[in-house]
Structure formats: C-alpha cells, structure tokens
Symmetry: D2
Subunit: 122 residues, 4 copies
C-alpha cells in the first residue's frame, strides 16, 4: 500500500512536514511529562526522549533541553521532581520530500504556558 | 501579546488548523494509552478523553470510539486491559479562522499501525 | 491457576492489601499527570480516573479530589492547564481477605512533594 | 519534619519496603507504556527508565528487560512500535532499614496479563 497516496492526498508536501512534526511534539509532551528526573539523570533521559521521538514518521531530529538550573534548585528532601512543561525547550525537525518544518515548544512566561508553534518551514 | 502574529506568522490559516489538530492527536494517544479499561468503564473514559482534548487550542470537537467488541472479549481473570492503539478510532476537528481540518487516527490492519492522517481539510 | 498461591505466598494478607493499593497509587499518578484540565471538565475527569483505577486488583474504591481553587485561578489565555501533583488529593482503598489499606497521596507543602503514604490499615 | 514517623508509623519496616517497591512498579508501567521503541533504541530507553525510577524513595535498583525478540520481529513499515506490557520483565529492589523487597512484573501467558507480584522479601 502507498500510505502517502491513500491517506495524505489532500495536503501539500509542506503541510505534511508540519503535520508530522506537530504530532511528534504533542506525543513527546504527553508521553514524558511526569517522569522522575534529577540533575544526575537529565542527560540520559534527554537522549532517550530524543531517540524515541526520532522514530516517528518524517522526523529527522529532535533537540531537547531540560532546564538544568531548575533541577539544580530542587529543594525537597527526595532530590528529584516530576518533569513538567516549564522545564522544557524542544525543537522537532520534520521533513517530507524536501520540505522541512521546525516545530518548537518552550514555556512562554508571558503566557504561563508551554507553547507549541512553527519556528520555521520551507 | 498576540500569539498568532508572533508565533504563527510563517504558516497559513489552513496550515494552522492542520498543526493544532495534529498536536492534539499525538497528545491524546500518548496521554491515555495504558489506562485501565473495561466494557463497563468505556463510556466514562471516552467522555473524559473527549472533554480533556477539546480544551486544546483550536479544537472544536473530538470524537473517540473505543472498540467495544475487543473489550467484550477480554478473557483474563482481571476483567480489564490497558488501553492500546488497536482499540481506537478518533477524529479531531480543529478550526482556525474558517479552515477546518479533520485529523483521523485508526488502526490500519494492513500496516499493523495506528495511523494518524488528514481525513479532510478546507 | 491460583495466582495468590503461586505469586503471593511470601507475604501476609495485610501486606497484600498494602501492595495492591500502592501499585494503584503509583499507576494513577503517572497515567494521568499531564492531562489537559479546566474547571469545567474536572468532574468528568475525576470520575473517569476513579473508575479506571477501581478496575485494578483488590481496589474497592478510589476517592480523588482535584483542587478547584487552583483551576479557578488559571490565568493563561488558554483557560486550561496540565494536571500536576500539587492539585491532587487521593485515597485508594484496597482490600485483601478482610484487610483494608487506605493509601493516600497529597501534596505536602513542607516537603514540596506529592507524598504517598499509608493512612490506615488493619 | 520526620516523614517516616509522621506518615509511616502504622506499618512495619518490611511493609514499607513492599509499599515503596509497589509504588515504583505501578509508576514505571504507566509512565512509559506507549513510548515509541525499536531494536536500535532499546538500550537507551531501558537505561533511562532504570535511572528515572531509581530516583524514587527507597529504591536501590531497577532491572528492566525489554523483549528484543519482539522488537526484532516488528513488521510494520515504520520500523517501531509502542512499548506495551507484554514486552516487559522488570525487577524493582526496594529497601527500608534492612528489609529488602523484590517486586517483579512480567507478562504471564496463562493470565494474558502483565502481573506485578512480590518475588522476594525479608
């Protein structure tokens, strides 16, 4: 079966790149929010999230930065926290036949919200 | 702040509708997969998932059908299972300034995969 | 197969009640943290979480209260937030052959942590 | 504050070890089920899950084995799947003041269920 012809004939190549990047961003957030995390485990979990989400269709690369400063300041006696949206800065690079979309998520202080948006697309 | 002007100026209104619908579909799947479910709880969880995901930006409506036949056939002694992708048929209706995208997810037997695609868009 | 004899012969009935309640509390937290929620959807999601977690082995009842005051104060322009540990107060009642354990989770300000503990057991 | 005296005075040291191990097992399952996974990413995600869950209170060690054979046999055209309970074999070693509990989860074919149980405790 040709998946592209059967299921994506209504949209352009550029729209397909945007579509796949957006799915991966929504998926990433809701899969990993809540994960126990600390300053000493942050490198490994970033790498695992990156590798997991790069498996999804049309995803070239995922860049994820979890805020070290927030992890350094954990003051509870258990020395870890649950991963939350205000710690995350993520770029998802999706590509479909030459069109590349860069989907970004970062916590926007002014909105008090982890905004997902299109940072670049050609 | 005008979020649309600042963060979405690179894409068209139609692309915005596709973008927001795709985020919600990815989010829905990865938030709720794994939830304990049975034939007797399916109505309530469908409604809760629908209401949760309709909160997201630009989402007009979410239709979600969890396969009753699969729930009826649960044979383990615990009488419930974890929600999985092959039980789901979902439509997300997203709208941005007159453009409506219908994002669909269903399990495609031929692909052995819960495919997310664009079913309709204007 | 007799599951109890084969897999739980090392522990007492009371310990079994504690064990099953603890599993359900850990499961509940990590399944539903991150769910989009607002003041208008809170009743439905509480009910769905309760019904889902009451499916698990030995669980008699789950009481879940999501903090309405925090939902009322949402100030971002999207009018919803992701469910987080500081909003939750949960009791899981688990029973095994006459022994009832009450497992509680609440956010303890002094600890800055959503603590899970044993509130009662006989 | 002395958390142990205030919140755990009703249970024995042995029960505490069982309690904390059970919470972590329930948490692990519901946090990571649904994660995209393939044969090439399995080592990294196993390590990240292990490190995340070892952060939780009283957890000495987590051993997690994701079934390579099942990953090798993925036949869909996307070359990855969502992590599911039938792929997992997990041991959580929890300790409280000299008492060690080994909580195990594995998929029991006869039950068609990923059973969590107490494999050892002293």
């Amino acid at each position: 079966m040709n998946v592209d012809e059967k299921y994506f004939k209504l949209i352009s190549k550029r729209e397909r790149a945007i579509f796949e990047g957006a799915i991966t961003m929504g998926a990433l957030f809701h899969q990993f929010i809540g994960t126990p995390i600390s300053y000493k485990t942050v490198d490994g979990i970033e790498k695992a999230i990156k590798e997991a989400m790069e498996l999804q269709p049309c995803i070239n690369e995922v860049e994820i930065i979890i805020n070290r400063e927030m992890l350094r300041q954990i003051q509870n006696e258990f020395q870890y926290v649950s991963l939350s949206g205000d710690m995350l800065d993520i770029k998802v690079f999706s590509e479909y036949e030459g069109h590349i979309a860069v989907i970004r998520m970062k916590f926007v202080e002014e909105l008090q919200y982890p905004l997902m948006y299109v940072e670049d697309v050609n």
